[in-house]
Each structure stands twice: as structure tokens, then as C-alpha cells.
Symmetry: C2
Subunit: 501 residues, 2 copies
């Protein structure tokens, strides 16, 4: 067995492999606060790139950013009945301000609040309350606003990036004069998410509608993008909700239409979170650690100067520094090439593995012999290919090389999904598809099953029994008649069924 | 009296003028949550620019971003005695997770936490706890990390941007092997803040050390930048703290030095917040509304197409759109020129005043007559100057014109400060300098007084009685011997005394 940088491997223990990849790449770690993580600089660098790209996409589709309060008065959350029911179990509640020593000198919460405040689990209610003030006439619509924020959902079982008590996200909240416009917005943002996932994260996704039971609390319709991880499980990577007039009714977002008639606004909301980083890790990484799609990598290339003495150093370092400048003058995906020189005084092999584990797309080793040939020794993280490359050629082809890595990662992930997706028309086949033959081998169970189904409690119970979930009903695959594989009833609904995060 | 867009004027009621400028520019408003504000898109656009520029400055000085939890366990905050004492009165406390209906069906906080969590008022203790894990050897130092985050300090009296219960800021937290390095870092970041304030906000500041009574709770030394608002009051705009080994001792941030001896690390912290936007507003705005320094304006120039019919529209709009593209290809302060076309169907005069009140640095009106001369009618927000300008000349000079506005705003603010700063050597003169002759006239009291002083309780009481505060002890003015104007004692300490926000 080849030695790998990460122990255990994916095949040995996928969940533990995931934790170890994060540790080896120094992306994040658990804090002393239950369920809350610390995002370390390399992890934050990925999030900064995610933010920058998505923010540009939101602005290109006409949205503006704003910022709303962290706290939601309990009475606001209660205005929409389904909404509060959906979030009541996950709320962190501020009940006091001020600390004061007790008789033993121990500080205790001192001044109770008149009304408890909820640390926002999502902001429909607090933002809707402002929209109700801002909207009077059809001329005030649409409102197209996004915010970047932290949210808190008290989770019992947490996992770095995938499920944490506090997480970072963006939440778009829009209000429209007509149902058609709000539905169009819902689908537009789902498309933005799919575009981002596929073209920046190199993570293929399936767009579809969630079933009634899986809707966002208070929504009329919820759409998601679902990605397949390397253990064949599905990860919900982003959601876009058509809220109808439910929140407008609860919060009084009303306007006078062109005929002077009072109408309720139609609203939407949509969000992606730091969970995307979890998806990124699990889609591309291997048994040597993190693999990053170049468009989101904090650094595109690391230059590793090699020298044995001061004389060699004096030749190598200026060469490396000038190469850095030349590379930085090139563009990839509309940004400057991000170059890092690692001149730390540590063993060469350790240094190479350091950057392999962190997923830097390209590494260039540069010593006196390379300089003699006016070149570098270039290694590619995704394929492991290594070769000497002339300096001028490297500069001229750096963007194309990064794009090739980006494309390769997407194609590899797409192939994996296609090989692990099956259209299934009967229950026995479905159960066989998901039956593990060997707990240690992730090859053993299927990934996605596309099946006709009906929504009812028996079906839910059956799925639960087999630890399966309905991911979504893929767009474009509706209206093909068939029979529910659980009940035998005729139905035209088809869904992706999978194990999931 | 000339009609102004803002009522009241600065002279009539400065605090109310401030609120009305914010309202007229649509920067922010109070939310339904006590003391928490909503930052609206135009206000957020300013904050985005502040973040972008400062973030670049932090990275240029070797810092990386990371993210730490929102919540701090009560026991962590208590580890540094001065620190917790300083913040105990301002803490928002999470005591429960989960909501559950009571006998009347009303939701109530349900599951008490084992240990209350404080919503971070600042993050020294939670970040320090992580540093204690990360630092073992001198090789692990320095740690140079910044985070962009929201913080909460329960304030009794709040004012938009200047003092809010929740606010947004950045907090840098660094750890070093030596005192000298940590002191150097403290001063370096003070310089970054002063550079940003003067060269981007066009807001002159005085760098200096805070007195012992005004130090950050737990710090060995606190330095600030202080700006003068148009009502002559001082605004503390940023602080940089040398924390010595206080927090390292409390949290166990220890390392083995090169000799293998265990040492405590030396730490610093430094921050600026959304308060800067309050300072920006009060430094430059006038009785017609917001005035923005171009480097931080969300839009540099607004183009206002003018036409009376479809035929004129067909000529004007393409001209305006192509001008937008030409302008956007120009650079100002290393960013693309930010151009907005306002083609809303509202009265021309209303539209012009809309952009005056929002402080857009340049406005260009463009109608058939301007196009006939291949030009625009250009107006400058800061001086009110208006003139016809040829199109090609506008494109060629746009960056220089924006720089001229930037420079003018700084010079004007500097002149105001210089005219309202006086070196004062006796108490009577000091009190006269600050005695208002007429409550309604902001000309009446002095701005800054530079005085010799000693730190003691009597001096504090005297200052409090006259509603004066010691802002800071300006750098470079230390060690000039003199006599304390309060006690007559010899001293070489000199401070800026002022009324303040």
C-alpha cells in the first residue's frame, strides 16, 4: 500500500479522513465554545474567494448589500407560525444584559430583558419588519437585498464546516409586486448558485425542488442544489425559497398597486454558507490532503526556492522573486495570479508535503540547475504530474494550466456522479443499490437513485428506516409518468433519493 | 437665509442635523431591536470601501484574516480581572437554547445552558484561548491575525453609527516573542489607521496615547487617533492596544524561546468600527447633506440623462451609456471609476437633489444641447462649482478631478482643526475656551486645547464638571516641560482636552 499523507484514507474511514484533511490543511478547528469553529487563515482565504465571486454575481443580477440586526425579538419570530416551529428547537436566547457578582463574587447574568432576543437563525422576520416600513407603493418594489452575516442554530451534533452552531452565510431577501417576478427571482438565484458551484467550485450539482416535508419553514416552495461527495452521499449546497405571501402577510409588507389597490408583496430568500467549504473539501480532496479548484484557491502557485549555500541563495532568490512578479502580471478568471514564495528554513520534502496537504494547485521548485536551464520544476496537485518547464512558457501558460486543473476537477467529479447515479423503478433494486456490502468500502453503496415517488407518511417511514432521504425533484425531469416505487401508485413525480449529510 | 436641503442646519442643531443627513442620504436607520441599526445599501457601500481598503493595508503589513466564535464562555471573560470589569456592564448574555410553549401557548426560553455565553464585546479572551493552543515555540510567533466581525456592547444611549448595541468592526490580535516587537506592532497599526483616516477618509487625526484611566480594560498602553468634527467635538476613530503579557498570563500563551526557556508571549489588539462612517459624515457633510471623499464614495460620478421625448431619449441614452464605459476604463486610487446612470422617471430637480443629499462627488447632466457640444454639464458636490466640460476632457481628467475633491476635503478639515486648536497654559483660559456663549452656535466653543496636565482624581473631577475629556497625549509632543494647568505641578505630559463623542 502506498504511503499517504492523510491517515486514515477515504476508503478506510471517510468521516475521519475528512477531519484529518481539514487538520492537515490547517483550514479550521473546533473552539472551546460548543459547536462553534475557528476558521483559520487558509480556510478563510477560501471563504474570501467564495465571497468575492458570489458577491460579484449577486451585484451583476441587480442586488445590493445591506446589514440587519443580529438579534430578533421573540415576538417577531412568532409572527409566522410554521417559521417559528421550524426554528424553535435551534434558538440561542439572550435573556439578560449586564453581569454582576453574586454573594460569592462569581459573575452572574444580572438585568433580565423585557423581551428575550433570539440570535438570528435566519433573518426573514427581522428583515421583513423593515421591508414593511420601506414598501408603500409598487414604485418601491422590487427590493433586491443581500446580507453577509453570521447566524446561529443550536445543533446537537456538529461537524467542521458541514454543521456548526454558528456559521457564516449570505442571505438574499427580495420583495416583488407580482408572483411571477418572485418566482423568476427564486429560479434566477438557484441558477446563480448552480453556476457558482459548477464553474468556480468545480462541483457538479443537481437543481431541483424540495418535497413539501423538506421545505424551508414558512416557504411555499424550496429549491436546492445537491452535490455528490466522494462517499456517494448527497450534500445540500444551497437553497432558494419562494415564500409566496406568507411572510408578507405575517409582517404586513403591503403596497398600493398601479390601480391604487392594496396588495401583499411576494417575497423570496436564498442562501449559501460556509458549508460550501465542506463540500469543496469532500468533492476534490484525496488521500494526500486538500485539492483546491484554482478559481477558489487562496494561492494558485507556490514557488519553492532551493539552495545549499549563500552563494546559491544569492542566485536563486532574485530569480524566484522576479518570476513571482511576472506571474502576478498574468490574469486567471479575471483575477491576478496569486503567487506565494515559501522560503522557510525547513526540510525540502516537508515543505513540498506542506503545500500538497494544503491543496495549492501548482508547485514550482527552483534551484540552481533549473535556473541554468532558465526553467522551473513544476508539479500539478490534482494529477501529480511533474515536469521541467521553461520560465517563459510557464508565464505564458499559467492561466491555461490553472484552467486545465479546474476543468479536470469538474470532469472527474461529474464522472463520479454519473457512474453512481441510477434510474431505479422498483423497491428491491433501490434497497440493493443502497445496501453496504462492506462498511469500510465506500464503493459499495450507490450514490443517487432517480425514482418515481409519492409524498406520504408511509414513504417517509420507509426512507427513514433505510437511512435514505429525498434530495430534490430535479428540474427538467418532471412530468414523466410512472409508478411510485414505494406504493405502486401512478405518479409523475421523480426525485433523487440518496444518503445525505 | 438660503434654503438648505437639510433641516435643521448644523448651526441650528448639530445632533439633529446629523440624524437628518443620515436619513436624507438613506445610509441607515434604527431597527425594532433596541440600539441596533440597519445599514442600508448606500451606507453599506461606504463600509464595503472602508473594508476593502483597510483589508489591503492589513495584508500589506503582513496580516491574515481568520474568524473566531461569536460567543465567549463567561469563565473565559473572567480570566483577566480588569478586562471583565470593563465590559461586565455591557454584556448581552445567552442563557438558554431552545424555545418551548408555556401553559398559555406562549413561547419561552426552554433549556438553560450549563454556562452562560457572552455575545462577544471584543475577542481578546476567546482568541487568546486559541493562541495558547497554537503557540508552543518561538517559531510559532509572531501570529498576525485580523478578523472582520460583529460585536455587541449593551449601550444605554445609542446614536446611528457612533454608538450602537451591535456594531461591525475589525479586530486585529497579534502575539509576539518580544516586548519590542509587540510595541512596534502597536505603533505600526496606529500608523495604518492614521494613514487610512487622512488619505482615504480625508479626515485629519491626532495620534497619541490614552491616559491610564482611558485605557482598554486589561491593556498596558492604549493609543488612539482623534478627529475633530464640525461641532469642534473630538471623535475617537480607532485604537491600538499594547497588552503586554496581561492576557498571555491570564490565558497561558506561553512559548519556549531559543534557549529553551518558557516565556509568556506579548500581545496587541487594534480595531476600527462602523463608527468611522459617523466620523466621515460629521467631518465633511454640509447643510445640503452628505459629502463623501471620492476614495470611499460608493459611486464617483452619477450621469443624469435629460430628454423630453423618445427621439431625444434615443440620442441621449446611448451617449450616456458609452460615456459610462469610457469613464469606467479609467482608474482612480487603484480602482475603476464607479459610475452610476440615473435614468429614473422623476423630476430633474428632484433627481439632482437626491444625489446632492447622498454626497456623490461629481454629477454630470447630459441633454441634447450638451451632446451637440460633445460635452456634459458637470457639478462638483464639495464646492458646488458647475461648468460645461468636453467629453474627452472629462474622461482624461476624471481621476485628477476626484483627487482634487479628496484633497480639498482634507485641507478644509485640517484648516478647521487648526483654527480650533489652541495651546493653553492656564485653567481660566481653558474654561473660557470651552464656555459656550450661545448654545445654538457651534462657533462658540473651542475645539482642542493642548495643555500640560497630571493624572489624578481631582483633575478628573474638574474635567467631568466641565464636561471635558482628555483625548490623548499626542505623539511627538511629549517631554516638553511645563506645569499642570489644574494643579500647578511640574509635568512634561501634554494632552488634547476636548468635548467628545
Amino acid at each position: 500500500m502506498a504511503k499517504t499523507a492523510i491517515t486514515p484514507t477515504r476508503a478506510d474511514d471517510y468521516p475521519e479522513w475528512y477531519q484529518q484533511v481539514i487538520k492537515a490543511a490547517d483550514l479550521a478547528e473546533n473552539s472551546d465554545v460548543r459547536g462553534c469553529m475557528v476558521i483559520k487563515p487558509w480556510g478563510w482565504g477560501i471563504w474570501e474567494n467564495i465571497q468575492r465571486v458570489l458577491d460579484g454575481m449577486f451585484k451583476d443580477t441587480g442586488h445590493e448589500n445591506a446589514y440587519f440586526p443580529l438579534f430578533i425579538p421573540l415576538s417577531f419570530l412568532q409572527k409566522e407560525a410554521d417559521h417559528v416551529e421550524g426554528f424553535a428547537k435551534e434558538c440561542a436566547v439572550v435573556t439578560h444584559h449586564r453581569l454582576q457578582p453574586d454573594a460569592n463574587g462569581k459573575l452572574q447574568p444580572a438585568s433580565p430583558l423585557e423581551e428575550p432576543l433570539i440570535v438570528r437563525p435566519t433573518s426573514e422576520t427581522i428583515i421583513g419588519a423593515m421591508y414593511a416600513k420601506w414598501v408603500q407603493s409598487y414604485r418601491d418594489l422590487p427590493i433586491l437585498i443581500n446580507q453577509w452575516a453570521n447566524v446561529v442554530r443550536w445543533e446537537m451534533r456538529t461537524r467542521l464546516f458541514l454543521r456548526t452552531t454558528e456559521f457564516l452565510w449570505q442571505e438574499g431577501h427580495t420583495a416583488h409586486a407580482t408572483e411571477a417576478e418572485a418566482r423568476e427571482e427564486t429560479m434566477k438565484m438557484l441558477d446563480v448558485y448552480a453556476d457558482f458551484a459548477e464553474n468556480y467550485m468545480a462541483m457538479p450539482v443537481i437543481k431541483g425542488e424540495k418535497t413539501a416535508g423538506e421545505r424551508f419553514p414558512g416557504a411555499v416552495a424550496t429549491y436546492s442544489i445537491e452535490a455528490m461527495m466522494q462517499d456517494r452521499k448527497a450534500l445540500q449546497a444551497g437553497t432558494s425559497h419562494f415564500l409566496g405571501q406568507n411572510f408578507s402577510k405575517a409582517q404586513g409588507i403591503k403596497f398600493q398597486d398601479q390601480n391604487g389597490t392594496e396588495q401583499l408583496a411576494w417575497t423570496t430568500s436564498w442562501g449559501v454558507s460556509t458549508r460550501l467549504i465542506g463540500g469543496l473539501i469532500m468533492t476534490h480532496s484525496d488521500d494526500d490532503g486538500l485539492v483546491l479548484p484554482p478559481k477558489l484557491a487562496p494561492k494558485h502557485i507556490v514557488l519553492l526556492p532551493i539552495y545549499r549555500n549563500d552563494e546559491e541563495k544569492a542566485a536563486v532568490l532574485p530569480y524566484v522573486q522576479s518570476l513571482k512578479k511576472e506571474l502576478e502580471a498574468q490574469l486567471f478568471a479575471e483575477t491576478k495570479i496569486r503567487v506565494h514564495i515559501d522560503d522557510r528554513d525547513i526540510r525540502g520534502g516537508d515543505k513540498v508535503w506542506y503545500h500538497i496537504k494544503r491543496g495549492v494547485p501548482l508547485r514550482a521548485e527552483i534551484g540552481p540547475k533549473d535556473i541554468a536551464k532558465n526553467g522551473v520544476f513544476l508539479a500539478r496537485r490534482d494529477t501529480g504530474e511533474k515536469a521541467g518547464v521553461e520560465r517563459s512558457e510557464l508565464v505564458a501558460t499559467i492561466a491555461a494550466r490553472l484552467q486545465a486543473i479546474q476543468d479536470n476537477l469538474f470532469q472527474k467529479a461529474l464522472k463520479m456522479r454519473e457512474e453512481n447515479t441510477r434510474t431505479i423503478d422498483n423497491l428491491d433494486e433501490l434497497l440493493a443499490w443502497f445496501t453496504p456490502k462492506n462498511e469500510k468500502d465506500p464503493e459499495i453503496h450507490g450514490g443517487y437513485a432517480l425514482c418515481h415517488f409519492t409524498e406520504n407518511k408511509e414513504v417517509d417511514a420507509l426512507l427513514k428506516q433505510h437511512k435514505l432521504t429525498i434530495r430534490n425533484m430535479p428540474l427538467g425531469l418532471e412530468d414523466v409518468p410512472g409508478k411510485c416505487i414505494f406504493t405502486g401508485q401512478p405518479t409523475s413525480k421523480r426525485a433523487i433519493i440518496a444518503k445525505s449529510y
